[in-house]
């Protein structure tokens, strides 16, 4: 599921995704696993410095984006 999360955020081309949309997108891309795994993978990727979030100023939603380290994982550094 971690790789699919990275792909989904990489595809959004710098537009941050809120958690609900990110989870739906990950599932659309055919990744199995429940919400608990999704949240655990988000935490793991964040701790590894591959993704980050900020809270939306109006809604307070967590908005996730990919960090350069995460992008490198997808592109293989190219």
């Amino acid at each position: 599921m971690s790789t699919t999360i990275l792909h989904a955020l990489f595809n959004s081309d710098g537009n941050p995704l809120n958690e609900t949309v990110l989870l739906a997108e990950v599932r659309c891309m055919g990744s199995g696993g429940g919400e608990s795994q999704f949240r655990a993978d988000l935490a793991r990727l964040k701790n590894a410095g591959m993704i980050s979030f900020e809270e939306d100023a109006i809604t307070g939603d967590r908005m996730w984006r990919i960090e350069p380290k995460g992008s490198q994982r997808i592109t293989g550094g190219k």
Binding site: A8, L17, E25, R27, M29
Partner: protein, 197 residues
């Protein structure tokens, strides 16, 4: 990351039909047979699995992102210039996520329905396989019983004598019946058993 060059996604892109297909899908939400028909008309016949993979493909994800980015750009063009930057960013992010969420929700609903159909089809196939197996077992049992009866008959000198006689077929059958069911006939004659009419 792109799909393989022989994937349906890659073929649709090469033919310049990718956006047209997904725009049609979004508007019509067609069934799998309708999608197959659409693809056949475009001279790209594909299996159900290939169509399912198309909708899970990186290209489909990119299409959703492009649609959301377009909606975001349209909103950005209409926003007042003097709006607070944090509010502007929030509104634009919401717009992007709203469209992405709507598209991925529709895609997920579709996948859910199609997988349900596929599961029902699998159950029907399994039921048919069980019925077929039961028929095969029944036929084998019948054949075994027939062979056993033949062996019994072959050992029976009286039966062979009837079979080799110059009687007509109908008389041979009547004589064999009388030979094999003489105990039943005797019981019936004694009143010990009532045979159905």
């Amino acid at each position: 990351m792109d799909s393989r060059s022989d994937s349906l996604a890659a073929k649709l892109q090469r033919a310049g039909l990718f956006d047209e297909y997904f725009a049609w899908w979004l508007q019509e939400r067609p069934s799998i047979p309708d999608r197959k028909e659409w693809l056949e008309k475009a001279e790209m016949p594909h299996s159900n699995d290939a169509i399912s993979n198309l909708h899970k493909s990186p290209e489909a994800a990119m299409w959703r992102n492009a649609a959301a980015a377009k909606a975001r750009a349209a909103m950005e063009a209409g926003l007042p210039k003097n709006i607070d930057s944090l509010i502007r960013k929030s509104l634009l992010d919401q717009r992007f996520n709203h469209v992405m969420g709507e598209l991925s929700h529709k895609e997920l609903m579709d996948q859910f329905i199609l997988e349900g159909d596929s599961e029902r089809l699998k159950i029907k196939r399994e039921e048919l396989a069980v019925k077929k197996q039961a028929l095969k077992l029944s036929r084998e049992k019948f054949e075994t019983e027939t062979c056993k009866k033949f062996l019994l008959w072959f050992k029976d000198a009286k039966a062979r004598e009837i079979a080799d006689s110059g009687l007509s077929n109908a008389d041979k059958i009547a004589a064999l019946r009388a030979e094999y069911f003489k105990d039943v006939d005797a019981l019936e004659a004694s009143g010990g058993v009532q045979l159905p009419d």
